[in-house]
Structures are given as C-alpha cells and as structure tokens.
C-alpha cells in the first residue's frame, strides 16, 4: 500500500478545516454514536478471536504486556517529566498516566492499516486495549498523591472500570466471545462492514478537535512538543521488543508497538479530572491529543510497522 489510507485523509481534512475555522462540527451526539460503534466493534472482533483459543494460553503474554506497558512505563515517564520537563508533581503524574495508557482511536487506525496490508495478526489484540487502559491510571494517582488514605479508591475504580470506553470494549468482547463469528453474521453489516466508514467519520471529528488543541500549543513551550513526538517513538521501540519477545507476528508486533506508543485522551483525562483535579488538563490533552495522536496516525503507524518488520528480520521469528 503506497497510497495514504483514505481514513487518514479524513483526519487531515478535519484538521485543516479546523485550522481554517470552517463551520464544521459533527453534532456531539453523532460523535458519541460513532465512538460507541467503534468501541463495540473492536470489542466484538477481539471477542471472536478469544473464542478461538483457550484464554489460559494468553495469560503469560497478558502478564508481561500489562506489567511493562501499564506499570513500569509510566514510572519511567514520570521522572522525565518531573525533572527534565520541570512539571509540577500532579501534572507529571497525570501526563505519565496518559502515556502509560492507550488510545482506542490509534488502535482503530493501526487495525485498519494492518488489515489493508492483508498480513496476518493476532486479532485478540483488542484485549490489550482493555487491559492497558487501566493500570496506568492507578500508577498516575499514586504518583500524584502517594499511597494516600484519603484517595477514594472505590470511586476511582468505579470511574475507571465503569467508564464508557471500558464498558463497551468489555461488553463487545464478551458478546463476541459468546456468540462467535458465526453467531454475529446477522449484525455484520452494521458493525463490521461499516467499520472503516465509521472510523473515517471519527477521524474527521478527531481532526477538528485536534485543530482546536493546536492553539494551546504555543503556551506550553517546546518541551511538550518534543516530548509528544519523541516519547511515542521510544515507547514504540519498547513495544516492538515486547511483541517480538512474546512471539507475535509482524502484524501483531506492529499493533502492540502502536498501542504502547499511543496515549489516552478519553478514559485517562476523565479519571484524572476526578482523582487528581489539581493537574492541568490542557497540558496532558495538548500532548496526547494535539501532538502524539496526529503524529502516531500520520507518521507513527507506518514507522512502527517497519520497526516490527526490522525486528523480525534482525532477531528472527
């Protein structure tokens, strides 16, 4: 695939329209509809694959990915922000949580990308989206507060586990797992055939939203910009190594690398707003949504795919 994927063109179109201040805005309800469909479909796809193999065989992979991706990485990112970036404790903690978690939108793009290449990959990857979304939030809260008695962990858990993203992904996973591929044929036209079109609309709106973030870029100095570009590449390299070590295919490695490289802009901001309210939300959103998200889908995804190819050539497998 030499040409640029059309769904990416929708993102670019949205970003340009937003920068030109065109009167273009998906109604919020439509954006929510599109997001709900994406999350459900990603969950369903993952669930179908889960049904094909015993869950237990995945446990070692899961343990490694979650331990490194969700717990260790945010702990590495925090001091960089705190001492190199000179951010306040709360802000450094919050941004670490964003980058230790993952972005469903980026996942959808790499899924579309790898699918369009027609290379095989491990479809249960959707499971990792669910599993990687949560741990970094806990790490972020502890980084901000210490292991504080005052923190209402019950509320945090509820906020996170019962947030819309996780709920829909898990719901989709379970439905896909119970019904299996055959069971879902009757709803295929809606959830699978429309997937790329829905993704295009989602990215159009993401382009518009990203454009509004750009205005805050100037305020926050060059550190955030550099961080927003360098960090995902660094994370992708680690993700590539993880994927290769776990014996994933080239496609699966590229997806895992992208996932690790991505930063949350839905679940984590919501949780941080409630749990670490003194963290400035525009800092973390500017980085994750204004810089890393466009970087990842425009430049990162194909780059990380090359990483995955190289790793498999270099190290074998």
């Amino acid at each position: 695939m030499n040409t640029i994927d059309p769904v990416i063109l929708f993102f670019i179109f949205g970003a340009i329209a937003g920068m030109l201040r065109a009167e273009l805005r998906l109604p919020r309800q439509v954006y929510e509809f599109v997001t709900i469909l994406l999350l459900l479909t990603i969950g369903l796809k993952g669930g179908i694959e889960l049904a094909k193999q015993p869950f237990s065989t995945l446990l070692p992979q899961i343990a490694v990915v979650v331990a490194i991706g969700g717990f260790i990485l945010p702990l590495i990112i925090f001091p960089i922000l705190r001492y190199l970036g000179r951010f306040k404790r709360a802000d450094a903690a919050s941004i670490s949580a964003h980058y230790g978690s993952v972005s469903v939108g980026t996942f959808a793009v790499v899924l579309a990308y790898v699918s369009s290449l027609s290379v095989p990959f491990e479809e249960y990857m959707a499971l990792f989206v669910v599993l990687l979304e949560i741990p970094a939030i806990l790490v972020g809260i502890i980084l901000a507060r210490g292991v504080n008695k005052e923190t209402k962990w019950g509320k945090v858990a509820q906020e996170v586990l019962l947030g819309r993203g996780i709920t829909l992904l898990i719901g989709g996973l379970l439905i896909g797992w119970i019904a299996g591929a055959d069971g879902l044929t009757s709803i295929k036209p809606m959830f699978f055939d429309l997937f790329n079109g829905i993704l295009a609309l989602f990215l159009l709106e993401m382009g518009l939203i990203t454009a509004t973030q750009l205005s805050t870029l100037k305020k926050h100095g060059p550190f955030l910009i550099v961080f927003g570009v360098v960090m995902p590449v660094f994370l992708a390299l680690i993700g590539t190594l993880m994927g290769w070590s776990l014996g994933l295919s080239v496609g699966g490695t590229a997806i895992l690398a992208t996932l690790i490289a991505s930063a949350s802009y839905i679940a984590v901001p919501a949780a941080m707003r409630i749990s670490v309210p003194e963290a400035n939300p525009t800092l973390s959103l500017t980085a994750s949504l204004g810089i890393t998200f466009p970087f990842n889908i425009l430049v990162g995804v194909p780059m990380y795919y090359t990483f995955a190819e190289k790793a498999h050539i270099l190290f074998g497998g």
Binding site: R25, R28, Y31, E32, E205, L208, I209, T212, I266, P269, A270, R273, I274, P277, E278, P281, T282, L285
Partner: protein, 100 residues
Amino acid sequence: MTLSKQKIITIVTETRLESALCEDIEKLGGHGYTITDARGKGHRGVRDAVWAANANIRIEVVCEPEVAKNITEHLKKHYFDNYAMILFTGDVQVLRPDKF
C-alpha cells in the same frame, strides 16, 4: 394563591461533575435540581461542547436561603480552585414552599 420567597442557585460547570454535584446538592438539603447541557467561555477558556471533555452543564436549584448558602460554601471549598465553574444566586417566588 400565595407565593413565597426562595433562592435559586445556578451553577455552570464541567459536565464530568454532574453525578458528584447531584449527590452533594441532595446531601446539603436541596430537594431537587434541573440540568441543561451548555457551552460557554470563562476564565478557563472556551468550553464549546464539541466533545464530552469540553462540555458544560447548567444546574439550577430552587431552595431555602440557608441551603443556598451551604451549597455555595461547599462548592467554593471543593471545586472552585480546580474546575471551570461559576455560581450565582437569585430571588424567586414559588407556589408551594414546602416542595423546596
């Protein structure tokens, strides 16, 4: 028909606080509230409701002056520093004072 005096508190703030604030209002003695979706601009910049993270709600509570004072102080203490929020109070006449 006799009308009696009450206070009305209007709060404009981030959508994400909705459930927390509703709990608070009830605990502090408010017997009801009305919420509408809103967008706007203030000291924390434009909140244009393009997506949930950037949307506002507008909450109205009709209540006794005492309750209005409690709600105001509570919000001031717990939310004003870290959230986009404004709050203002006005006078209204209501039909059935016992309802509020």
